[in-house]
């Protein structure tokens, strides 16, 4: 739009246009380009000008020919350029564009086509294979600012469509990257709270391995576990009063990390395991509780395999004594003989217990339990065969926490008498599901009154 009656002070031209940049109103001379006058920023409409930024700065802009809706077929050159950048973020932005501008099926097809064009990239979570950097779905969904379930669903569809085998990422692989996120180096926090990232990672890895051996990691989300071990590692590296007073909340605040609710539970579980092992340290006289176990963490981690073996042995001995005592009390109905054998496995780990349970009262109990070199003593107590079968988790030293602290089950539903599906259905049964005419009228009236009162309120 031309501003009537104005002359450019530089060249004297009257060809002056109103050039509304997204930030400021300006009058500009077309011939020489000088700014004749500019509006005050404060006068601009709240929420930005009416013309959006992309429209004001658009100069015959076309969408990239590669990224046309539903017809994503990037040229080999552009994609290889993308790879050469070696930048995760660039790829993430690219994927973000796909994820947010196309619908589900199209997205997956598009991503599959892209990945097929360049077979070097096998998998979304292994995109960083070039950098040899494993990332989690959580990280990706954070970068994409998307719901992790949605990202996960797309990822699974991709894996299916491309028929690829994504290697499973172990928590120990990812923990290093995770620890780096925590801003507790000496540059960010006071010296007494600072910790070297390498030491922290090393301690955290040891804690994670211990947690994995004691069934805390399997089946759980990895990120709360990593948060818990990082917190415990930080506390145990300098277990002074100051650090011990720090709760997980405060630690996350200091490290500028968003706290996850389940991390607290993981902390408690790991502390429980540490207590079980701390009890086995020969030179510790006082009772080991979750409060004072942090000081012992370093010692526990250094000798964890030996302590695990000791703990298993103590537990087996205790079980043996118990079964002998219970057999001696009651007349033997069928003794449970236990063969306890200990065997050290290849790499890390511990003893497993092999037991043969016997039948009693015609109730069969699973017998052999040797399949997984990691644990699982199962003790079938014949005395308890009258009661509901004992929770096997209560009898072992290490088991998934939800088995050890099993929820109480509701009373078992009474056995239904044999149902054939073709029985007669009596009228009285059916009538119980139908309102009488009077009830129906009352109900209709009540609904009407409710809707009236709702509309009166609003």
């Amino acid at each position: 739009m031309a501003a009537a009656g104005m002359r450019c002070p530089a060249c004297g031209s009257t060809n002056i246009v109103d050039d509304d940049l997204y930030s400021q109103a300006q009058l500009v001379c077309v011939d020489c380009g000088s700014v004749v006058s500019e509006g005050v920023l404060a006068n601009d409409p709240v929420g930005g000008s009416d013309v959006s930024f992309s429209r004001t700065t658009a100069v015959a802009k076309r969408p990239c020919t590669n990224l046309i809706k539903g017809e994503l077929l990037p040229s080999k050159r552009s994609f290889s350029l993308l790879l050469q950048c070696n930048s995760v973020l660039l790829l993430v932005h690219f994927l973000k564009w796909i994820c947010f501008t196309h619908t589900g099926q199209q997205r997956v097809k598009a991503i599959c086509r892209i990945l097929m064009v360049n077979r070097e990239i096998e998998d979304l979570s292994q995109t960083c294979r070039q950098l040899n950097w494993p990332i989690t779905v959580g990280t990706i969904s954070c970068l994409l600012d998307a719901d992790s379930m949605a990202v996960g669903a797309i990822y699974q569809e991709m894996v299916k469509n491309l028929s690829i085998e994504a290697p499973i990422i172990n928590v120990t692989d990812v923990i290093e990257a995770h620890c780096h996120e925590y801003k507790i180096s000496s540059l960010d926090v006071p010296e007494e709270m600072a910790e070297n990232s390498r030491d922290l990672t090393k301690r955290a890895v040891a804690l994670v391995e211990l947690a994995a051996d004691s069934w805390i990691v399997t089946g759980r989300k990895p990120i709360p576990i990593m948060m818990a071990v990082t917190y415990l590692a930080w506390q145990s590296l300098k277990p002074n009063k100051h650090r011990l007073k720090f709760s997980l909340d405060k630690f996350c605040q200091v490290a500028k990390v968003k706290k996850l609710k389940s991390a607290m539970k993981r902390v408690a579980e790991i502390k429980e395991v540490l207590c079980k092992l701390g009890k086995e340290i020969p030179w510790v006289r006082e009772t080991v509780t979750p409060d004072n176990v942090i000081q012992l963490v370093e010692c526990i981690l250094q000798n964890r395999y030996a302590l695990l073996r000791r703990a298993m042995r103590t537990h087996e001995d205790a079980l043996l004594e118990e079964s002998q005592a219970s057999c001696a009390e009651a007349p033997p109905e069928g003794t449970a003989s236990s063969q306890i054998s200990e065997c050290a496995d290849q790499a890390p780990i511990m003893s497993f217990v092999k037991q043969n349970g016997l039948n009693s009262d015609g109730k069969e109990k699973p017998g052999d339990v040797d399949y997984n070199p990691r644990v699982l003593p199962k003790h079938s107590d014949t005395q308890e065969s009258q009661n509901p079968p004992p929770n096997w988790g209560k009898r072992v030293l290490f088991a998934p926490p939800c088995v050890i602290h099993a929820k109480k089950r509701r009373a078992v539903q009474p056995e239904h008498t044999d149902v054939t599906g073709d029985e007669e259905i009596s009228d009285s049964e059916i009538d119980s599901y139908i309102r009488t005419p009077q009830e129906a009228r009352d109900f209709a009236l009540m609904q009407h009154m409710l809707s009236l009162s709702d509309s009166a309120k609003s």
């Binding site: 699974q156 085998e165 089946g219 069969e364 017998g367 088995v403 599901y433």
Partner: protein
């Protein structure tokens, strides 16, 4: 049955999903007004009706298609479906019970040992898949049985698949060794 193996397993069917048709249009408002134990969902266009005995929840659409869930056996599902059809008949609709079909069966089974899901998945690729961030269980699909098993680290299994019905009988508690269980053990790589 394999008598040399004295293992046994309690496989409990917890849910049977069945569908049937009434071959007539159903007025959902009438059902909502005159039926007890009914929830009307106009935004989705269906009515949920719950029966007490057997404990069944039915989704009723106006086209006459009905889905029953919550039964613990195939026969119970059929009985519940017939009760429902009878109920709708009494409400005044010209219902003809037809096309009854069991669509899905869900059973649970608990093993007395924990399973290391990472090793389990590694040993059983690509049949098994495990994404700890998305779901705590490893999913194991047996193609020829058309069954999906979810293996939890606590040793609980959730088995879904119609083919179960042909192999398990209709009693609630099944205590015998099925070829399916044998296959499962083989797949999991259990050693005796």
């Amino acid at each position: 049955m394999d008598s040399s193996n004295d293992e046994a397993l309690d496989i409990i069917i917890t849910n049977v999903v069945a569908t049937f048709r009434t071959r007539c249009h159903l007025n959902l408002r009438t059902i909502a007004l005159e039926g007890t134990n009914v929830i009307y969902k106009p935004e989705v266009g269906k009515v949920l009706m719950k029966l007490r005995k057997p404990m069944i929840t039915a989704s009723i659409w106006s086209s006459g298609k009905i889905i029953c869930t919550g039964a613990t056996s195939e026969d119970e599902a059929k009985l519940g479906a017939r009760r429902l059809a009878r109920c709708l008949q009494k409400l005044g609709f010209k219902v003809r019970f037809s096309a009854f079909k069991v669509v899905n069966v869900l059973a649970v089974c608990s093993m007395p040992f924990a399973v290391n899901l990472i090793n389990f998945t590694k040993n059983n690729r690509p049949i098994a898949s495990y994404e700890p961030e998305l779901h705590p269980a490893a999913t194991y699909r047996i193609k020829n049985l058309k069954a999906t098993i979810q293996v939890f680290s606590t040793g609980s299994l959730t088995v879904t698949g119609i083919s179960l019905l042909t192999r398990l009988n209709t009693h609630r508690h099944i205590k015998y060794l099925t070829p399916f269980y044998v296959q499962l053990r083989r797949h999991i790589g259990l050693r005796d």
